[in-house]
Structure formats: structure tokens, C-alpha cells
Assembly symmetry: C2
């Protein structure tokens, strides 16, 4: 059954759900007080969300929370429905695709129920992929999902739900991925840019961090921005493309077509290329690199690459007015000296370091959490796109 937002004001519903995400667990009364809305309003919204299996009441016996004020009738605590799979998550990666059903609770680690590989350069990739999805669909079975969320790499047009540019998975540019998934599951489908999913996931798992830049090092270098607890977006279907910041004096060709992009230096391949050159071709694998660094420390060739990344990141921090960077991916697997160097270089280039502290720390990739966050935001309490608020009109429109 698809969740149909009934007439209650969406803004309050969104606000309440966001707040609950932040608090993790809370009672109706706590939510009402914390949002400044009346108890009856909060109560009604909660009732609706429970009826729609979005929230669930928690038996307080099982959870040991000391937060409760000791006197008076204890509140019935609420949380995101942890016990029922409401979303279908699909991750499209370079080598493999994974699929899993998800409840709305925040998973500690990413776990995928199905995994299958797509041979690269397959002539009919889209068709093959669809068949693999069908197999996964059989395995997973029919639950009443609210929608499917697909994490995809590349440049994504969220409005049109289409991939504009994907240097490593060119076939996705021509196929309508959302359409394919919809054919298999007959659900609302939302494509989510990979890095943005990571950033959202980090935010959902660390709700106190409301403003940060996440930079993911892998095949390329991608970024995503959370401002005010929301993903930063704008009309252009591009954002956080920090890996393609030009680096003066760098002449490597990038997959994007340009020359000198920062990611040609610090992506997996970029680092290995520099490593190979520095060792005169003797060593060129990732484990060798790791070992090499832990023995020799940060050599000049590596320092200059890291500095290039730090420059781009510091520039982004200055322009965005942020003070926190979370780093995920390959760089976090190298000896800690690497992150230390990067962190130090970012700090020296960042304006905010003159007033306060700039943080740059490693973090795990939380893709499924990000997809959940997106699902809640876009499927469960959708934002009626209308910028002008005629609340009642919007409500009635949604009802239809």
C-alpha cells in the first residue's frame, strides 16, 4: 500500500520526522515541545505515521534510556519503524550491483541481500542488468515497499531521474535506469547520486553534524555537501564535483575529458600511477603502496598530491563556509599519516581555521543509511515542489 499523505500540513510532518531522526527515540510530548508545536498536533501526525508503518512505538522495557524525567506518566517512545522493510535499495557499482530490502531504522553497516556482477563492456548491458534484477526480485520476494532507491555513480539529473554522464558506466547514460527498475518492481523509483547518498547516510548516522563536506576517494574523487542537515542542491544537476577542480601545473588527462583534474592525482589509479613513477615502475599495487607509506612515510610525490587535494577541499570549505570534512574510501585505508597530512594541509588553507577548529576525519561509507534518508525525504514525506505556499491547496492536491 502506498502511503498517501492525508490532509495534515506537510511542513509539520516533515519537521516532526526530521526531529525524530535527530533524536533517534522520543515521545510525542518530547517532539511537540522540541518543535514548539502543540501536543495534539504532534500526536495526530504521529498517529498517521504509525498507521503508515513509518514509525513504531518502542517498548521501553527493552531499551534502557535514562533520559526520561523521573516523575509523572512516562511517554510512549517512538522511532522509525525498524521492524518492517519499507524500501528497496539498489546499488549500482562499477563491478557489481547489489540489492537489499531496508527498514527505516539506521543500519550500523551496509548489508546487501543480493549481489551480482555485470561484465564490463557487455554489449547489451541494460537488458542483462534488467534480467539480473528480475532474479533478485524473485529472491527478495514481494513486500509492500514504498519505493526503490538506486545509488548511481556519475552526474545525475535528479529532476529527470536520468544519468547525464558516467565516465565508467557509459551504458547508463543511454538507458532509463528508473524505467528498468520500475518494470521489474512496479514501484516509484528514485535515482540517488552515489556521493550524495554517502553524505546523507553520514548525516543520518550522526545527526548532530548538520553541516559538512564529504569527500569520497575511490575510482574518482567525489564530494557531497550537507548544509543545515539537508543535501545542498541547486538547479544544475551537478554539485560537489570536487574531484574535477583543476590543479595548476597538472597535465594528466581526466576521464571527464578535461586536463589537470585533482582526481587524476589522488584517485586509486592516480595514486598508483604516481607511486609507480616514484618507484621507477617497481611497485604499482595498492597493498605495496600501503606498505611503502608505512615504511617511508609521506614522500614528496605523495605530499604534493595530497596538497592538491587539500587545496581543492580548503577552497570548497572557504566558499561554502564549512568547517567539517568527512573522508571516506581508499584514503582512509592507508596509514594514518596520510589523513594527518591531508588534514593539516586543509587546515592551513582554510579561513575558518583562523577563528576556530577545522575538522577532517575519516568515516565509513554508509550508503544504505543514505538511501533510507533519501527515501524518507522524498517518498514518505515528499516536499511538494511548489515554492509558494498555499498550504491548503497543496494538501488537497496531494489528496487527489
Amino acid at each position: 500500500m502506498i502511503y498517501v499523505p492525508s490532509r495534515m500540513g506537510q511542513l509539520n510532518r516533515r519537521a516532526l520526522l526530521r526531529r525524530l531522526q535527530k533524536l533517534g527515540i522520543a515521545s510525542r510530548a518530547e517532539l511537540a515541545k522540541s518543535l514548539g508545536m502543540s501536543q495534539p498536533t504532534a500526536g495526530k501526525i504521529v498517529d498517521e505515521l504509525i498507521a503508515a508503518d513509518v514509525l513504531e512505538e518502542v517498548d521501553m522495557a527493552e531499551t534502557s534510556v535514562g533520559e526520561t524525567s523521573l516523575r509523572g506518566r512516562p511517554g510512549r517512545k517512538l522511532r522509525l519503524n525498524h521492524s518492517k522493510s519499507r524500501l528497496l535499495a539498489i546499488q549500482l557499482g562499477l563491478q557489481s550491483t547489489t540489492v537489499t530490502p531496508l527498514a527505516l531504522g539506521i543500519p550500523d553497516v551496509d548489508e546487501w541481500q543480493c549481489q551480482f556482477s555485470l561484465a564490463p563492456n557487455e554489449s547489451e548491458s541494460a537488458r542483462v542488468w534488467e534480467n539480473q534484477l528480475r532474479a533478485a526480485a524473485k529472491k527478495i520476494g514481494r513486500e509492500d515497499f514504498l519505493g526503490a532507491l538506486v545509488s548511481v555513480p556519475g552526474v545525475l539529473d535528479e529532476q529527470a531521474n536520468r544519468i547525464l554522464f558516467s565516465p565508467n558506466l557509459h551504458w547508463t547514460e543511454k538507458s532509463d535506469l528508473a524505467q528498468i527498475v520500475r518494470r521489474v518492481w512496479k514501484l516509484p523509483v528514485l535515482l540517488v547520486q552515489e556521493e550524495r547518498a554517502l553524505a546523507l547516510g553520514h548525516h543520518l548516522a550522526n545527526p548532530d553534524c548538520e553541516d559538512f563536506l564529504l569527500v569520497d576517494f575511490g575510482e574518482g574523487v567525489g564530494g557531497a555537501i550537507i548544509v543545515d542537515g539537508k543535501p545542498f542542491a541547486n538547479p544544475l544537476p551537478i554539485s560537489g564535483e570536487i574531484g574535477h577542480t583543476p590543479v595548476l601545473g597538472n597535465s594528466r588527462k581526466c576521464g571527464c575529458g578535461a586536463t589537470g583534474c585533482m582526481e587524476t592525482l589522488v584517485s586509486l589509479r592516480g595514486l598508483l600511477e604516481s607511486f609507480s613513477t616514484a618507484t621507477r615502475g617497481k611497485k604499482n599495487t595498492w597493498p605495496q603502496l600501503r606498505e611503502h607509506i608505512s615504511e617511508k612515510g609521506i614522500e614528496p610525490w605523495l605530499a604534493s598530491s595530497l596538497d592538491a587535494a587539500a587545496t581543492a577541499i580548503a577552497g570548497a570549505l572557504n566558499v561554502l563556509g564549512l568547517r567539517r570534512v568527512f573522508v571516506t574510501g581508499s584514503l582512509t585505508e592507508l596509514p594514518p599519516a596520510v589523513m594527518a597530512h591531508l588534514s593539516q594541509a586543509i587546515e592551513s588553507g582554510s579561513m575558518w581555521a583562523k577563528f576556530g577548529r577545522v575538522e577532517c576525519v575519516a568515516a565509513p561509507r554508509r550508503r544504505t543509511a543514505g538511501l533510507i534518508a533519501m527515501g524518507i525525504d522524498r517518498l514518505i514525506v515528499p516536499d511538494s515542489d511548489t515554492k509558494s505556499f498555499s498550504l491548503q491547496k497543496i494538501a488537497s492536491r496531494n489528496q487527489a
Copy 2:
């Protein structure tokens, strides 16, 4: 008389006023249709705003607008009140301070009624400044202003209405400028960061441009960002600090305390320094530079400085997902080849250029327009900071 927002929902009022800013002139019916709200609602809001002297009806005889649908009763057109000074604008510059009353209509060029200079290194700058303001107050007389808007350089904490850091006007860091102005005029006072005012002004004058980066070249290099027609902001009192993006290989000391900031290369002083070096000290003035460039074109020393600026700008565009840059200030006074080079360099580093066009054009400084935009946004239709929307509560709170 101070404008007290009465009970009508603020969101709709904001939306309506924004739309009218965008349209310039429109009737109640046009506004209602364009916003998707009902005519009675739009009518009521308009009536309120007229009563508060924020809007005025325009005699259609005088304006020749062909837009009107030819049949039916013609609507009574509305626009921002152009005939009455509602705001007091103050511009705090390095050499001089200027003051002027402003109506809400968008001025074509900045005009300031009073101007006075503050000798640098004055021991009691704050006190002297206050006295100068008092003189200006006498000259301007007592109109019923809604508030005062002060354009200030440096790093501004908008929340606290205080200057955190101002490398060229250190005395402003210690004094409470808002308090000083309030002592002179007894009005609500709003400090506005200089570059942000420029960006807002550009937006108000060109309402179709809803997303852009503005870069101002002068004593330093400052930037400001408009996303979705609104100034981009976040918790940190810093943003758009594009001039302090580190440039690899640049070892000039910056006023901010760091080394290698981009603005040490392309600020007025930075350019002249490079110019002087390139001509072995023979030439070092701005007119000489202008002439030199128009004779010799873009020499390598200049090209590399411009490329550094372009790199920072392109990086910002990629991260923010923007495709438009407006450049104001000194760079626009140089021969057109300079802007052409910059524009070209930005394009080659920007991701969006691979999908569509990236624009980089010169624009005039529209500071007063920016202050008006800020005044409308923050004084006339203030945004109740509350993020959770309990519309009625907010309304009653404002009433009190």
C-alpha cells in the same frame, strides 16, 4: 510607524513579495495566478503591504506596458513603493563612509546623499565615526525608516550582527557597529556583508538570474553566492571567501595571515606587484597597467595570475553546481582581453562546460540595490527563524 506583520501567513507574504520583485510590476490577479494562490488571498496580502507603504499602485497611463491581456477589465498594477524612503543605507568603505535614504524601488545606479572620510589609523575611530553619522543624520532628516542597513567589509557574523575579522578596518572588530548606528537613529540595524550586498543587488536588478557566483575584485577578492534567488548561507559566519583559496606554488603573504591566497595575485595590490616585477620596477600604477595590457595583451605573468583566479572560481562552480559568474570591480576596468582570458580559463576548468554553457561576464556594483533586497527580506517580511512551522503560533508571536 513600524510595519507590524499582522496575522496573515508569512510564507505567502514572502512568496508574494518575492514574486513581485521578480516580475517588477504585476496586478493582484497576476500574482495570484503565478503563485497558485487564490485571488482573495493575494488581494488581502497586497492590501496589507500597501497599507504599510511597502507596495504602491501604479497609474497604468504612465507606464507603457504591452503585456496586459487585451480583453477584460485591466488589473491595477502594483510595484514596490518607489515614492517613499523606507530604508536608511550606510556603506562603510575603507576610505569613506556614505549614507543615503532609500525607497524600495530598484535604483539604476548607486547614489549616496552624504559622504565623509575617516582618516585611517584614527585612534578613536568608533567615536569619530559616530559623530560623523550624527552629522549625516541631521542632513538627512527624520523620515520614518523601517530600519538601517550597513554594508561592511570583512567577515561578519550575521547572527550576532558583529564583525569578526576585518583586515583593513581593524577597529570595527572591537566596536559594536550596529549599536553605534542604533544610538544615532534608534532603528533596527542590520549589518550586511559587502559582497553579499553586491550579489543581492545584482539579483534584484536581474531577477531572472537565480543562481550565480559573484566575484568582486578590489582591495581583496571577495565572493558571494546566490542559489535559488536567495543568498547562500550557513551556520558559519563565513562564505564565498573565494579570495582566500590557496594557490599551489604561490608564496605571497596574505592579509588574512595565510600564505598563498589567490587574492595576493589578483587584488589591486597583487596585480600591481606582479606588474612592477614584470616591468622591473619601471611601472607600477593602475593606469599604466591598463595601458600596458592594451598594448601588449595578456603576458605570461598576467595569464598565470588570471589562471589562478580561474582555477579557484572553476572549483567553486564545480562544487556549487553553478554555471554563471558575475565579475565586478577592478578587473572589469581593464581591457576586455582580461575578462576574455579569465572567462576562457574558467570554462576550461568547469564541469558544466561539458554539458552546456558557462557564463562569466562583467557587471556593475549595485550595492544599494542589495541593501534594499536585504531590507525587504529581513525587515519587511522577516523570516521567523523557527524551522518547524507552526504557522499560527508564529503569527501570534509576531503580533505580540
